[in-house]
Symmetry: C2
């Protein structure tokens, strides 16, 4: 059903004798042309940087240890020493798939937030932790009986570094990822535990304000100039137990972004993709109505809507079709940014990608299974629906061990619309996007991915996300930064 | 450069409100239509079997342990208990990619061949073994100093099961594949050692005759009705040290095949793909000249030519271009069946696939990297050049750990020409093709692969391999067996 016609090939005849070396070169060129960034025309300066980059890449790819072939927890120190990684850190780019609860490094949470006054800690029976800021001794809860003031506990223990293990409880890091996470169920359990553990810190209203600002700082340090943050807009609490509704979080996000932009005039902005954990159809209906209202009230802040959670165990998008068709029924536009195809099951859940497209999703979160769905792939390409590739997330959550086998290698070789992101950086022990860019550029793209690939990926992240009235400004701003980046690395 | 137009999509408009469930069904049908076997029209009886198969598949795919996600050495006992596997064993099919030195199960070699008289054994310094049949005490060799008559040694040791460890030395099997084979280099070393160890047994002239017959028996037990065997046509030796030239092996193969066919009238035949280990251009030239001559002398036996060895460390096909263009220069036809793209490197070696196509290869051995090369993929599809998919080989040789991530999943979803084979069954501890069919059908094809997929894969293996004058007979014979197979499983 797919009509494929490659121009050169249409005229290619069966060769006799030695194949024409000229034809071979042409075919190789033509194939390189198809990959992400293959049609990007590089300036002379860019070509020089590209040649340099190619040399660096050849060297790293022929080394005994190639980071994308290893688990990220073991690869991280190697990546940090890579000159390619350091170059990627300087590259201007945008982050379009990060979840708010995992935005800021756990080091900051532990070393800054948990040292604040009135911070209580409680150890749960299943070896997790809960935090709570309170101006009085908190009541016991079903999941946590004995709350201790962290300040007192720390003084008692004497050894402040003993609390380093707190950091590990808030991330997925372990020295032995394969042993400790034998399968997806185990790693997803730990994943959800870590989220719950951090929630008590992040949802304290004064902390959230600082947390969001700190998140933008960490992105800026990695030269990320724009952010679309997936957030459930949790309710937040004050020391005296006062609760703020969701809209407070949204206002705080708006206010923090404004402040950050006035402190850093070369930051382009940040928006929210409202993300709910899918439960019943009626709950999703309510969430969508709320999102429509919030988008109306905060048009500059709300980018759209998504549903999150583990697909394999959850409901399909089609199950929620009545809810998801609400905006169209009400003749309003609520852009969707669905997580879909974050699975290696090869089962019905894969169908989510097609459904996301049927509901006119703007981008596809992950789309891990897309390469195995030729029709969905064709539709996504035709409509320029980019997949949000998060390589480290896919590896840590055990979809693929050697990233050279990531199915996005197929998509990159065909120039499928794509952006790179980091999903849950704090849980995986990353900050910014450069670790993920490194894996995508060297491991998934292979030797043939080049500066044109990076340029297209970076441009995609800027150009495809911004609202129309910001596109030109954003692109111009990015282009300036890109030119400086190229010159700085010659 | 690729013009893609999916008919339904060309007319698809952006949907408003709830997507039309009818359109969704159509799109899903259309995508299913694209996969391997998607366009195969099933008879009513076949549809019944297909429904049954689908149920079995759903059950196995939702079990706690899914064999394709595990290393084959651990998955094997699970696969043996699978009703899908037992069904695949009954399915009539052909084997187009097996190497002669790994054709017959090691159990047979140890329990039959090593018990023959005059069999000497020698343990090398690097913990490998050598065998030699001889009517007198063999001379010490550089790699083996102390030869013992196996009969004497066995009597001395008393415990015959103690020799079971011989079996392990001749295969890659280990209880702890990930620990024992930390990387590709280690597993390839063991791989080559196992080949060398078995060589002394197999190249003994009387053994070779029985070995080939036994190989056909083992295939027949798995309902493999046709074989294309890759063989270097080693020289063989007699008890008294007499050496037979390559042509003796070819004649023996011909004679054994004839005898087997008269013993088993429903066996279709067997041919040889002459395979050399690539060294210098002049050696390859000589090998090709010899292959041309052998093909002329044994047109019914010699199917074509291939080069073998580990690509990552070897020369590229393009390096041998002068040699490979010899047949065309001499205006003779020598079909090529190149191993190409058996690599996850993402480096220049990937280029071998394009070069194999430029040299008009008839099929591609493995083509592991093909999915990452959109132009080569288009050429291979247009010319109907099938890839020979050997999933267990790729997993054991560490290209991919979870077979659901095998890039052939992309090819299967697009209906790329493909056959399934077993590469080196004895080394991996398989016999026949059904283990590999199981992995391809459940792991790589996923839930959507169905009886049509199996039918197309089986037909491919029969129809695409036979010389023109045998095609109709072969296909008719296969169709009869297929009908019986379907009826037997209702
Ligand atoms: Zn996500
Ligand atoms: Zn092979």
């Amino acid at each position: 059903a797919v009509v494929t016609c490659v121009p050169l090939l249409c005229f290619a005849r069966v060769t006799h004798g030695m194949p024409d070396p000229g034809q071979r070169d042409l075919l190789m060129l033509e194939e390189a042309f198809m990959q992400t960034g293959g049609r990007v025309a590089l300036t002379e300066t860019e070509q020089k940087l590209d040649a340099h980059l190619h040399q660096l890449k050849e060297k790293e790819m022929s080394a005994a240890l190639f980071p994308p072939a290893m688990h990220f927890f073991k690869a991280k120190p190697l990546i940090q020493r890579s000159p390619i990684f350091r170059l990627l850190q300087k590259m201007p780019k945008a982050a379009l798939h990060i979840h708010s609860s995992a935005l800021v490094s756990v080091e900051w949470l532990v070393k800054n937030v948990t040292y604040r006054p009135h911070c209580y800690i409680c150890f749960t029976w299943d070896n997790s932790v809960r935090f709570l800021f309170s101006d009085r001794q908190p009541f016991p809860r079903w999941d946590c009986f004995y709350w201790q003031l962290l300040e007192t506990l720390r003084a008692k223990l004497g050894d402040p570094t003993g609390f380093d293990n707190l950091i590990q409880r808030l991330t997925l890091f372990t020295e032995d990822p394969d042993g400790e996470y034998p399968n997806q169920d185990v790693v997803w359990q730990k994943f959800e535990k870590a989220f719950i553990a951090a929630a008590g810190l992040i949802t304290h209203a004064p902390v959230l304000r600082d947390y969001l600002y700190r998140g933008l700082v960490e992105l800026m340090l990695d030269n990320v100039m724009y952010l679309e943050l997936r957030s459930g807009l949790s309710r937040t609490y004050e020391l005296d137990g006062t609760i703020h509704e969701k809209v407070w979080s949204l206002k705080t996000f708006q206010e923090v972004t404004k402040r950050f932009m006035s402190d850093h005039p070369d930051f382009l902005g940040a928006r929210i993709i409202i993300s709910v954990n899918a439960l019943s159809v009626s709950e999703v209906k309510a969430a969508i109505k709320e999102a429509i209202q919030l988008q109306k009230d905060f048009p500059d802040v709300v980018a759209g809507f998504d549903m999150v959670g583990r697909e394999d165990s959850g409901r399909t998008l089609w199950y929620f079709r009545e809810a998801l068709s609400l905006p169209a029924d009400l003749s309003v536009t609520l852009p969707y940014f669905f997580h879909a195809g974050e699975t290696d099951e090869g089962t019905d859940v894969d169908q989510n990608i097609l459904d996301a497209l049927l509901f006119n999703t703007t981008r596809i979160g992950h789309g891990y299974a897309l390469a195995h769905h030729p029709l969905a792939k064709a539709i996504s390409r035709k409509r320029d629906v980019a997949v949000e590739l998060c390589p480290i997330s896919n590896q840590v959550l055990k979809l693929v061990s050697d990233l050279r086998n990531h199915p996005a290698a197929v998509l990159m070789s065909e120039g499928h619309p794509m952006v790179i992101s980091s999903d849950d950086p704090s849980l995986f022990g990353t900050t910014g996007l450069s670790y993920d860019f490194y894996e995508a550029f060297t491991g998934i793209g292979g030797l043939k991915a080049n500066l044109g690939t990076l340029k297209e990926l970076a441009v995609n992240s800027i150009y495809s996300s911004l609202p129309a009235h910001l596109k030109d400004t954003g692109y111009a701003m990015w282009q300036n930064k890109w030119n400086v980046f190229v010159l700085d690395h010659l």
